[in-house]
Homo-oligomer: 350 residues x 2
């Protein structure tokens, strides 16, 4: 049973149905539940006391209440309840039930709502589960199995660790992107030329700020302590960076930037097995024809692209295409690229 038939709930429902489950569901907006039924996302609308899996995929405000309600009602033997909220400690602290397993599928789409629901939304993504010492092992195993069966890589974290880490790697960076964009916009109000100087690097850094901000007040309210702590650490680091510039400490600056470059280059691009992959770097003009040429070339050679990034240069419209492929295929791709006049380098993904 799925409670909440938006993007995530709808995608879970579609994915489960595709794997043979009978999926009932409901939504606070009953018209939306009927729409989900009509669209073939659900088998039935309404509460199902026989359900052996309940996925709470409502907006944050209703997660705890709906989870407790599901656990209090009659459920099939061994049935489990899980949720998909992006902040975990408040949820697990409030629920504390052996058959509740907190979850956070790190999947999203620019297309919100039921219309974006996709049975393959979770393939290759990380799905965090936050079992606690009071969680029944079998309940955890069942939820884990379901998440993995939808194609996700499951990662178990404590609720607190989850919240700390997403504050550092998602929440604070998102708020920082918005702040950078607003700062540039404020300056652009007086200097219209500013936006003509905004090259690929700035666009990359502020891209997430273009998203619809609806969920962010909830996320910030629920994860406030971790976000504030991560902000304070970042503000300290940024102040130290500012001071390196103000004091003209070239060696210190170079040291910090060298460290960042090394860390960014070794950032794994997905939940993949990095020891088997290699990065093929191809300097290219930042034109789309070239991108299509190279990616279709890989397709023609039967080489599966595990990941792809366009690293814009700090300025201008040159860049380097980073193509992540299986180590064995990397030399093959490099040779074929060379035949077509593209110089490239291959490095194992550390």
């Amino acid at each position: 049973m799925v409670v909440g038939t938006g993007l995530i709930g709808g995608s879970v429902a579609r994915a489960l149905r595709a794997r043979g489950w009978h999926v009932s569901g409901r939504d606070a907006d009953s018209a939306r539940a009927e729409e989900a039924l009509a669209a073939g996302v659900l088998d039935a609308v309404g509460h199902d006391p026989e359900a052996d899996l309940v996925v709470i995929a409502t907006p944050f405000a209703a997660v705890i209440e709906e989870s407790l309600a599901a656990l209090a009602g009659p459920l099939a033997a061994g049935a489990v309840v899980t949720d998909v909220a992006g902040v975990k400690a408040p949820v697990t602290d409030a629920i504390r039930h052996p058959r509740f397993v907190g979850g956070h599928p790190m999947a999203g789409s620019e297309q919100a709502g039921l219309s974006g629901a996709d049975p393959d939304l979770f393939v290759g993504t990380t799905w965090v589960l936050t079992p606690t010492s009071s969680t029944e092992p079998d309940a955890y195993a069942r939820v884990r199995h379901v998440a993995a069966s939808l194609g996700a890589e499951v990662l178990a974290l404590t609720p607190e660790e989850h919240d700390t880490l997403v504050a550092v790697v998602s929440h604070v960076p998102h708020l920082t992107a918005a702040t950078l964009m607003n700062r540039a916009d404020a300056v652009a109000a007086e200097h219209a030329a500013l936006l003509r100087l905004a090259a690929g690097g700035f666009r990359d850094m502020t891209r997430v700020a273009a998203g619809t901000p609806t969920i962010w007040p909830d996320v910030c309210a629920e994860n406030s302590p971790a976000i504030v702590a991560a902000f304070d650490a970042l503000l300290d680091d940024l102040t130290a960076m500012r001071d390196l510039v103000a004091s003209g400490d070239r060696a210190g600056l170079l040291g910090v930037l060298d460290r960042a470059a090394a860390a960014r280059r070794s950032l794994p691009s997905r939940a993949v097995r990095p020891d088997r992959l290699a990065v093929v770097r191809v300097p290219v003009p930042d034109r789309i024809g070239v991108l299509a040429d190279i990616t279709t070339l890989a397709g023609d050679l039967g080489i599966d692209i595990a990941d792809l990034e366009i690293a814009h240069s700090a300025e201008g419209d040159r860049g380097v295409l980073l193509v992540v492929v299986d180590s064995d295929a990397a030399q093959h791709l490099q040779g074929a690229l060379g035949d077509r006049g593209f110089r490239s380098t291959v490095t194992p993904l550390a």
Copy 2:
């Protein structure tokens, strides 16, 4: 004549030769100048007293000295000197000569040095020129003409305005990306799972930090006052954002994020005429095959892609492809996409 035969100097030389100029050049590293000659980047090695254009493309430390030397020597009638340094006030202040026009082509490449030199490096990029009240109008006009002839959109700014704006839109964002990456890396040292939670948004925000940091100590030293001022303003804004989170001010937070979203969506993607362009947004799974399909489809239809972005979602591997094309072509592309099962929306680029 080109002084300094690295990426920018080499690209200028190649571009000028392609347009029929006789291009001599030299480099502090004489072997590199000979290499440029052998590679057909230069017509001749050495100082050319007859040159009517001198482009100083050395590392920052030598820009002022080389510019003054060029202006002091015998030059052809009406000859002009320009440079390509990324910080302008220190250069123009030190040189103050009627036939010197400071310049900053906003072009770069991930591939540094002569091997990256490309005659088309400047096509479609912004080339800032910083004439002052003491610059001869004819000197400015000549340099402007040359930059435009290489395909760049020329933007004239005062040296001070240039330095202020690049601090806001390039220097401080770059240093912030490095700081975010180092912060995540420090946390990852204790929580290895962190890097598995780093989704597309984080990768976008830190991508520039992967670049070779060699030029940054110079940039930070030369533009220190503007960078420190921009940092201080950003730190104030980030502190205000942190305080919104700490105080649970949902309405305030939503207001700031809404403003950022509106600003980011209206950020022009290149130096183009936005009233004639439209954005086609195509929700896609973040897989390369899809990207190639759509971009080659546009090619097949003869539709020129002015710009292209992949907007990753905050989490997971769904995204939306933003294809910027001529307004008239947008409907055509949308129809063809629809025939192939891709839903898309078209909006004029404001």
